[in-house]
Amino acid sequence: MLGKLGKSLAKTMKKLAGMTIVDEEVVKEVIKDIQRALIQADVNIKLVFKLSKSIEERALNEEPPKGVTPKEHIIRIVYEEMVKLVGETPKPLKIDKKPYKILFIGLQGSGKTTTIGKLSRHLQKKGLNTAIVCTDTWRPAAFDQLKQLTQEINIPVYGEPENKNPLEIANKGLEKFKDYDVIIFDTAGRHKEEKHLLEEMEQLSTAIKPDETILVIDGTIGQQAKEQARAFSQSTPVGSIIVTKLDGSAKGGGALSAVAETGAPIKFIGTGEKLEDFEVFDPERFISRLLGMGDIRSLLEKA
């Protein structure tokens, strides 16, 4: 673990390409490059070292299957170790009762409200009658934002801009939309130091009894992702994660830390500000992005 971090994964991968037997020296070099790539991608440092240690052990101890080159062997191991965290296939959001209640939580400005607009559109397209309740009593114009986001798609939004009691609003919303297939609850942004707000979130969750609680993680967040995710999930168990702002250049490694911390899978990603900028989570693409490797898929197909 001690010593300089690597330089460039792409370069060492080239070095690996010509090899016929697993060379300990080169494996160590690759591991350092992987560490570097993951740290650059904002994955939690301790998690990076844990991951790279298991990759190194396996790469050095496991015999590559017949006909598999050392390069393909190592890529396969890297991929498998990462998949252990994010899952091999995306976990769907199963709407299995009515009304299905979804609670959105997350840090200030992470993208909750916008993502609620996107998810409501996604569910509407599946033929589900969806409604939204705005319990954000903190941010000015939170209700206007939701109304404007969804007005072109005709999703009803309940809110009381003058009411400062989110519990009251949540209960009224539950009553009002009880015949809908899905009710999504927006909440105010908060962070782990705002104990009163975390308590408020806990109370909201107790009142709503959500079937799913979604933690929204800003794709640009760094090392704090882990601690923040932990604080959230300690107050309110987290069922899934949505990563936003992946249309920028950030790699989204903070989300991996959040996954490791909460055990909740990533289900969707946000790739822009518009309602359509929303995708089902693709583990392979996400892992490629984290490692800064364009085409892990083609490498895997060969491996």
């Binding site: 001690l2 010593g3 971090l5 570097r36 740290i39 650059q40 991608a41 904002d42 440092i45 840090l107 200030q108 400005g109 992470s110 993208g111 916008t114 607009g117 903190w138 941010r139 000015p140 114009a141 939170a142 206007d144 934002q145 939701l146 109304k147 404007q148 986001l149 962070h191 782990k192 130091e193 705002e194 800003d218 640009t220 967040i221 760094g222 090392q223 704090q224 601690e227 923040q228 702002k245 249309d247 920028g248 250049s249 950030a250 790699k251 490694g253 903070g254 500000e273």
Partner: protein, 291 residues
């Protein structure tokens, strides 16, 4: 020196400081300093220390830590454009001081504008706010709410209107009504979105702001570097405000940004209230790194 100086002196070798440099690099990384910047800082420190002659009694670890703190201070002590002196200049010319706020989505630009409006009000100045985020849902209403609460004039058009035109009108208003400061809110945008970056540059061309503030989120990781570089290339950044420092952020973005664009961090946002804005001091960063 005399022939006995070797008794009193020792030369720092790479080996002596290897471990402490690694520890310092790790604390930079754990505090969200971007990896390229963290490496450059520790490399420069190594070059500066290896071969240096110090007193025999010197504790090398402490010595390295002190040198490290000094380089952090150096990076964060920037003699950029000073907001107060430009304000003074504009006051003397009886012209409004025009500040434009830029940054990626959701960092806290709009909230910070409300805080800055309060900051100038507290100093007896009259600000006017320009609602130039005409794109995001609820953006105009959000800013209007802040302006009303603070009792500050807001210039706004319809949603979807030309942001440069809104900013222009606000400047005209300030000139006509003798307002001291124009605070221009802009829509959040990704630094990778060329069209939106161009749109922002257009606002700048139209209103020629005196000061451009980049608003960054202190929880940002490695991307802070890309953001700072791209926004600086597109419009030129004069100063930085980092928000959400109250979220127990280590705030390494301050160091990353300071290092790559060499511009001063002026304030930290420390909450959602109007007074939650504190002056940034390099010592804050040092404190974050060592606790």
């Amino acid at each position: 020196s005399n022939i006995f100086s070797f008794i009193r002196e020792k030369t720092i070798s790479e080996k002596d400081i290897e471990d402490i440099l690694w520890d310092l690099e790790m604390s930079l990384l754990e505090s969200d300093v971007a990896i390229d910047v963290a490496e450059k800082i520790t490399d420069e420190l190594k070059n500066q220390l290896v071969g240096k002659k110090v007193k025999r009694s010197t504790d090398i670890i402490e010595y390295t830590q002190e040198a490290f703190k000094n380089s952090i201070r150096d990076i964060l002590t920037v003699n950029g454009k000073d907001m107060d002196s430009i304000l003074q200049e504009k006051q003397n010319k009886k012209e409004p001081f025009i500040i434009m706020f830029v940054g990626i989505n959701g960092t806290g630009k709009t909230t910070t504008i409300a805080k800055m409006a309060k900051y100038f009000l507290d100093r007896g100045l009259k600000p006017v706010i320009a609602a130039s985020d005409t794109f995001r849902a609820g953006a105009i209403e959000q800013l209007t709410h802040h302006a009303e609460k603070l009792g500050v004039k807001i210039i706004k058009h319809e949603k979807g209107a030309d942001p440069a035109a809104v900013a222009f009108d606000a400047v005209e208003h300030a000139k006509a009504k003798g307002k001291d400061v124009v605070l221009i809110d802009t829509a959040g945008r990704m630094q990778t979105n060329v069209n939106l970056m161009d749109e922002m540059a257009k606002i700048k061309r139209v209103v020629k702001p005196d000061f451009i503030i980049f608003v960054g989120d202190s929880l940002t990781g490695n991307d802070a570097v890309e953001q700072a570089i791209k926004f600086n290339e597109s419009v030129g950044i004069d100063a930085i405000i980092l928000t959400k420092a109250d979220a127990d952020a280590k705030g390494g973005a301050a160091l990353s940004i300071g290092y790559v664009i060499n511009k001063p961090i002026i304030f930290l946002g420390t909450g959602q209230g109007y007074d939650d804005l504190i002056e940034f001091k390099p010592e804050w960063m040092i404190h974050q790194l060592f606790t």
